[in-house]
Amino acid sequence: MWGLVVASLLPFVGAALLPFLSKSRGDNCGWIASGFIVASFAAVAISTPAVLHQPGAIAFEWVPSLGLQFSIAADGLSLAFAFLITGVGSIVFTFAAAYLGPEENRRRFFCYLLIFAGAMLGVVFAANLISMFVFWELTSVSSFLLIGFWHERDASRGGALKALVITAGGGLAMLVGFILIGSIVGSYEIADIMAAREQIAAHRWATAAAMLIMLGAITKSAQFPFHSWLPSAMEAPTPVSAYLHAATMVKAGLYLVARMGPVLSLIPIWTPTLTVLGIVTMTWGSFLALRQTDLKALLAFSTISQLGLIMAMFAQNTASAATAGVFHMLNHGLFKGALFLMVGVIEHEAHTRDLTKLASLRSNMPRLFAVLVLASLSMAGIPPMGGFISKELFLEEVLQMPWPLTVIAVLGACLTVGYCLVLAIGLGLTHQDEAERKHAHDAPTALLWGPAVLVFGALLLGLVPTFLAGGLIESAAAAAIGGHVPHPHLTMFHLSPTLIVSVAAISAGAAVFRFGWMRRTPDAPKLVADRVYEAWLTGLEHNAQRLTASYMSGLLWRYVTIIVCVGIISMSALAVFVGFDASAPWGARPAQTFEYVVALIPIAAAIGAVVAPTRLAAILALGASGFSLALLFSLVGAPDLALTQIMVETVSVALFLSAFVHLPAYRKLKPRKFQPLYAAVSIAFGVGVTALLHHARGQRVGGTIADYFVENSVEKAGGHNIVNVILVDFRGLDTLGEISVLGIAALTCYALIKLRPERKRP
């Protein structure tokens, strides 16, 4: 187990040390980074026998209050993925060390690549959903930086952002699903979750959790309808593409489905949905692959297609399907890694990767062509490659499915053979241009041995699968279904109905290639999913901007209107749903005519302030409104309030007047006219507040404070004039405060008067 801890830490350690270990120009950093990943591979390999014998786990305390541990667990499933990550990783790293020239910033590149590898190892060894999620998102972030590595290309920047938004967004949905599971079980440890699977399946959140986690998996693994980010991500440097497609990133989704399969397949929605999505993705992806002229795009769509196949297998959660899934996953890692690296070589040597422009590889790059053919045969599922066995296993499963799915899947298999033949035969047969022939030369061995090793691996998987990986596959499949798996019989030679289907598919594929591949559109049409993504994005941006512009006008009076409207809406909502109590009496005593007249003055003054033609008139009208309110206060028996009001009003009018001297001239930009909307808003607000106040009367719980003053005025303060006692005694400090406020205001007035702009002397 500790070997695996070392294996997962090595890439991170490498990334941290790389800047210090490498030479100033970064010449050697590719080899140093390769050293770290090879060491990691060795650590995985050494730990394998022990782990296969007895899966283990190590836990460190992380956040005990949340019951969180930082735990690492390993079984066959993690190991199968770890082998891919470190094994294909070793090849990719060494390839990249030779492939990237000194003009690239290699130190940065290998730093990102190591973090990427480490994050992937973290995902597969995490024994806890939260730490798995952390590493999961770390792969998204590091791939964002890797995909955008050739940042002078516009497409690569767009691709990087798209990949990040889709995968990290799906990751968030997955996080919500994880939290749901965590809330049901009360733990985020995968072992606890496995133990509580019946409880989860019976819970009413189960379907939601399954859907959310599925969303995480299918976005990460580029399944339909979220497949569009993967072809955009091909702008990355070729070794990154190879690594991303063959061993990392997209495989994380598969890992999640396999890992959570035993739990989530108990939920009815899981298996059917994922199966349909996987099969549809497989066929749709292979159809799109056939229409590409860019070699890398062709491979990208083929990855989507192959991932769909594996996804559908893992979704079944049966022993045979899981075996097929694990086996094909390993196979795919080997041949897809080789194919991408070889496309890198072709691009490096021929300076194009356009199928229609490439000269015949058979004569120009014979060694590379031989390896390429073997890899393509494996992808097509033709003996003696490992791909043949995995396709047989796949067809066996598919034949048991409902017939529409079977038809779609077999069609997908035919198309797959078709595009593989494009690679294997099409590239060998293209026209021959003498001029080109002189330029082209075969791939250097330094670049070729990596793909060759991978393809040799794929060949061995076909010839001696059980010897090579039987134990690993058995253990991995067992983990993926959470039960026992019979020892797999992986063999090239057998007679069964699948063989007939297989032969038929190969012949049909050959026909597709023979009659179909020339009809490829030179400029591949834009993906529907791409268009949807872009339309969605521009629509969102556009509408967001319109929405924001509509209310963020920068005009203060509009802002205030919005607030007032919110007030009106909430008051009317209350009036409708709860109802105001209108039966309460309006006052303790009927108002007298004189009081009505006095009450009209502030109203008139307020209207005056609104329609006043000059600033001065508005200020004076406002003042009149305030002073008449003071009059009203004194009439209804609140002389202290009236006094305060007069003071405040005097000072504020004075402040207004002296401050407005400094403002620029009052200009009318356009003629003012009556605006019914604002009148209505004002009136509605006034009516609302009045109704509110009326309703509020008589709803208090505590007694009024007046009683306290009446009772204690003589006893505690020795005064008979209660208002006086309140002002100088009970609220003495308040009065002091008021006096200081008035004093400060007066000082301000004085300062403003002093500051009056100096008149120019004649």
Partner: protein, 493 residues
């Protein structure tokens, strides 16, 4: 304990330090010519206040100043946090070129005064005290916003802020007077007791009164529909002031809001679950506010090219996220809020620090000023900014993710699906515009005309410390969550 005004002074060391420093700076300004000392003094005062707040942690809890403010775990948490915010604001001001040649004496006086006000916002247990503290902070903020007199944008922002604030706090004080009329008390605990027994008072009027009070809180934390001042003000104010408004003043608003709603309008039940008082379903109201706030904030940020304004909108969105913890009525939610506020400090202040470095260097604050930042001498600021952006987006392994995790967990535990889904979608949208900044810094090529980024060591060090904090708390957040846990103590007599 319930101490009188004079006795309370012994427990008011942080505030005393700030008040003495405020007055001291004002006096010193008249005496000395090397004005930088004033800023350094203010820095020491904030540090001292932080230390003094930390020392209060062991003190007996109780009421100070005749039941006007409380001394409890919650208040101490925010005192510590708010003094650190003021510290950051002063530190940034010292390194900001925008504020050179302005009047440092008055500036630091106002800043420290605002900080003192925020302390009382966080600890007030009386409506009157809360209102005074809020108004005190607002008044100083208005001046700070328009502090650079030559800046027209700043002056406009200050005036807008003033009038908007006037409307909001007018509504608030009106609501408070209604609550006083209904409950007959200004004291939170008493209000809570009197309204606990269902009566006629727990009707629509109380709801309206709470809504009006919410206008004041909402304005301070920039919650929709009271948020409209913030983009203009954030953009117009000097950058350190913006940073302070978005972290310090906002956190104080949250503290005040939590205390009012939880102490006066709810009561604690068993197992860390709270219940509202009868007839006042305020969480529903705020769920709506939270959803609209985060959505509008994020949508507005989507196409924003001015990074300062973008951060203003993002700050609105984050207010929406933080409110997620507010509505679940549980200790878990409150803890998530405190935790998020603390992580928000790291990542948002960090983003503002990097923005200030860019602004100092190029006098620009739009997206183009970040173009290819990493490739023209700004490797450290660019790396730090990337950390802050990913953390703000809630991507692991950064502190922002952990904060969001706790918020989501609290919301999902209460089965508030709508809120959880909207928040998740919002996070995706926000990732888009945060990643756009990272893309601009790393993946865009600098033009020949873009200046070489030079970094002064103290801003760089500050950004570095914040970035390291963001990473460390993203991986090992136990001390912070334990602190938040311990701080969930409200003294209610």
């Amino acid at each position: 304990m319930n101490l009188s005004s004079v006795e309370s002074l012994a427990y008011s060391l942080p505030e005393l330090i700030l008040v003495f420093a405020t007055v001291g700076i004002l006096m010193l300004d008249l005496l000395i010519t090397r004005k930088r000392i004033l800023g350094e003094l203010a820095l020491c005062a904030c540090g001292g206040a932080a230390l003094a707040s930390a020392l209060l942690a062991g003190a007996e809890q109780g009421y100070l100043f005749n039941q006007m403010v409380a001394l409890d775990g919650f208040a101490i948490f925010f005192k510590l946090f708010l003094s650190l915010s003021a510290f950051a604001a002063v530190y940034m001001s010292l390194g900001s070129r925008e504020l050179d040649n302005e009047h440092p004496g008055e500036y630091y006086t106002l800043l420290l005064a605002a900080a003192t006000g925020t302390f009382y916002m966080a600890s007030a247990t009386n409506l009157l005290m809360a209102y005074l503290a809020l108004e005190f902070v607002s008044l100083t903020s208005y001046v700070l916003t328009g502090f650079i007199r030559a800046s027209r944008r700043g002056s406009e922002a200050a005036l807008k802020y003033l009038i908007y604030g006037g409307v909001a706090s007018g509504a608030m004080v009106y609501g408070m007077s209604l609550i006083f009329g209904l409950a007959g008390s200004l004291d939170y605990a008493t209000i809570g007791e009197r309204l606990l027994v269902p009566s006629e008072a727990n009707g629509p009027i109380l709801f309206i009164a709470v809504l009006l009070v919410l206008a004041g809180f909402g304005y301070k934390i920039s919650m929709v529909p009271f948020h409209m001042w913030s983009p203009d003000v954030y953009q117009g104010a000097p950058l350190p002031v913006t940073a302070y408004l978005s972290v310090g003043s906002k956190a104080a608003g949250f503290a005040m809001m939590i205390r009012f709603f939880y102490v006066a309008l709810s009561h604690a039940g068993a197992g860390g679950v709270w219940a509202t008082i009868e007839g006042l379903e305020w969480p529903n109201l705020i769920v709506l506010g939270s959803i609209i706030t985060m959505t509008l904030g994020n949508l507005a940020a989507l196409r924003q090219d001015n990074v300062k304004r973008l951060l203003a909108y993002s700050s609105i969105a984050h207010a929406g996220y933080i409110l997620m913890g507010f509505v679940v009525l549980s200790d878990a939610g409150l803890r998530a809020m405190l935790f998020y506020i603390a992580t928000y400090y790291l990542m948002n202040l960090g983003a503002f620090t990097v923005l200030m470095m860019v602004l100092n260097n190029s006098d620009r604050e739009d997206m183009e000023a970040f173009r290819g930042l990493a490739w023209r001498g700004g490797a450290l600021p660019a790396a730090a900014m990337a950390v802050f952006m990913f953390s703000l987006a809630g991507v692991p392994p950064f502190a922002g993710f952990i904060g969001k995790f706790y918020l989501f967990a609290a919301v999902i535990d209460k089965e508030m699906w709508m809120l959880a889904i909207v928040a998740a979608l919002n996070s995706v949208v926000s990732l888009y515009y945060y990643a756009r900044i990272v893309r601009t810094m790393y993946l865009d090529q600098p033009l020949k005309s873009d200046p070489v980024m030079t970094t002064d060591w103290h801003s760089g060090a500050f950004a570095g410390v914040l970035a390291v904090g963001t990473i460390v708390f993203g991986v090992y957040w136990r001390p912070l969550i334990d602190l938040a846990d311990k701080s969930l103590v409200f003294f209610r007599g």
